[in-house]
């Protein structure tokens, strides 16, 4: 098996290496990939959409359908993870609680203490030591990470950024809380129900903007006609339409990242994990 695999891999690699002879040299400005569609995008995108960042303009306007279905793929991946892993009816299992005043740890088999108790706090079964420095630093850092993420989404027209990147950074800030404290703290910040709703809301915003365009008499995701309701000229309306779509993408990506992390790290129980 291993030898056969090695032969197949070497054969494929050898053929590909042989094929690189016909490739244009690295960084050639006149390579076939750079001479067909992209000059048109580079020359016209700014005057057609009022967005200086061509990547954002192409992503959300010229290739709007593609991005919408990529967002749907991410949404489906989040739902798939949820359906595969989530366990709702849990058998009563062993839990560990710590008495806060005396730091005595209780191991309770089967039964459970109330979740909100002033005297006891629940700790993970695979207990990680309490670390004040890590917890405090991560708690202080999280809002700034979120602020940066909002900047990346909102300023994606003029600087590198956009919905996908900003959404991942937003999700990472919540996952940072889950890693540095524990999963229950992160779920108290953004509950499972809200998170799953947000996954759908992002796709809904994206498709909804497309549907509004249809209602105003243009093609699906043709933002030009949004000028009627946005009180802007047609070019600026495209820019605003792109912003709305990016916000939808950001919401979906954030919610899916959090949901996938929570389901994977706790194997579907969503109460304790890494």
């Amino acid at each position: 098996m291993k030898a056969a695999g090695l032969i197949i891999v070497l054969l494929t690699g050898g053929l590909l290496l042989y094929a690189t002879q016909d490739f244009p040299p690295w960084g050639a400005p006149d390579s076939p990939a750079s001479t067909h569609v992209s000059p048109r995008y580079l020359q016209k995108a700014t005057e057609e959409t009022a967005v200086p960042n061509i990547v954002t303009a192409v992503l959300a306007d010229y290739r709007g359908f593609d991005t919408m279905f990529e967002t749907t793929v991410i949404f489906c991946a989040g739902i798939g993870c949820f359906v595969l892993l989530r366990i709702f009816r849990q058998k009563p299992e062993d839990r560990y609680y710590r008495h806060i005043a005396t730091e005595i740890t209780l191991h309770i088999k089967g039964g459970r203490l109330p979740n909100k108790s002033r005297e006891f706090e629940r700790i993970d079964t695979l207990w990680t030591p309490y670390d004040l420095v890590i917890k405090t630093v991560c708690r202080i850092l999280a809002p700034f990470i979120q602020l940066f993420a909002l900047y990346v989404i909102a300023h994606g027209h003029h600087s590198p950024g956009g919905g996908f990147q900003g959404g991942v950074i937003l999700g990472a800030s919540i996952i940072l809380i889950a890693i540095s404290h524990n999963m229950r703290t992160a779920i108290a910040r953004i509950s499972e129900k809200v998170d799953n709703l947000l996954m759908a809301v992002g796709v809904f915003i994206y498709a909804g903007i497309g549907a509004v365009c249809v209602m105003l008499g243009a093609a699906f995701l043709d933002y030009g006609n949004l000028s009627v309701i946005l009180f802007a000229d047609e070019i600026m309306a495209r820019s605003h339409g792109i912003l709305g779509v990016e916000i939808g993408v950001g919401i979906t990506v954030m919610a899916v990242m959090i949901s996938i992390y929570n389901n994977l790290a706790s194997a579907g129980k969503q109460d304790e994990g890494l």
Binding site: M1, K2, G5, L6, I8, V9, L10, T12, G13, L16, L17, T20, Q21, F23, P25, W26, A28, P29, S31, A33, S34, S38, P39, Y41, L42, Q43, A45, T46, A50, P52, N53, I54, V55, V58, L59, D66, T67, E70, V73, I74, A77, G78, G80, C81, L84, L85, H158, P160, G162, F164, G167, V168, V253, V256, M257, I260, N263, L264, A267, G268
Partner: protein, 131 residues
């Protein structure tokens, strides 16, 4: 030999990505552990992403953000001053999609582990076979 060096220098990026792709493909075929197979799949995806990004590169060009934003609309823009934005757009979505599909794959691996109590492929196959 003297012919080979200019070719290598001009196209070393493609060679690197093909080597990376071969590592990923070998891991997907030959490794026994399911998680190692998935990591191989991720290396494969990364090599494709790097390949696409390197296609968009132009020597001496800058990032595809038009300088001086809106004012530049009036005079002509030379496409050779900005790198090709299209591969960046395609890979931007592919990166996030690859992360989420990797999540689904890991979820399937967790389910497999719960069912068979192992992630080794030969042990799973031995249990699947009727006795």
């Amino acid at each position: 030999m003297s012919d080979l060096i200019p070719i290598l220098v001009a196209k070393y990026n493609y060679w690197l990505y093909i080597v990376l792709m071969m590592i990923g493909l070998y891991a997907m075929i030959a490794k026994n552990n399911l998680v190692k197979k998935l990591v191989g799949m991720n290396i494969f995806q990364t090599s494709i992403i790097l390949f696409y990004v390197s296609i968009g590169c132009k020597k001496g060009a800058t990032i595809p953000i038009i300088q001086h934003g809106m004012a530049a609309g009036h005079h002509a823009i030379d496409p050779s001053h900005y790198v090709n934005p299209l591969p960046h757009v395609l890979m931007l979505t592919a990166i996030v999609v690859s992360v989420s599909t990797f999540g689904v794959a890991l979820a399937l691996a967790i389910k497999t582990y719960h069912q068979y109590k192992t992630l080794e492929e030969d042990e799973i196959l031995a249990r699947l076979r009727p006795r």
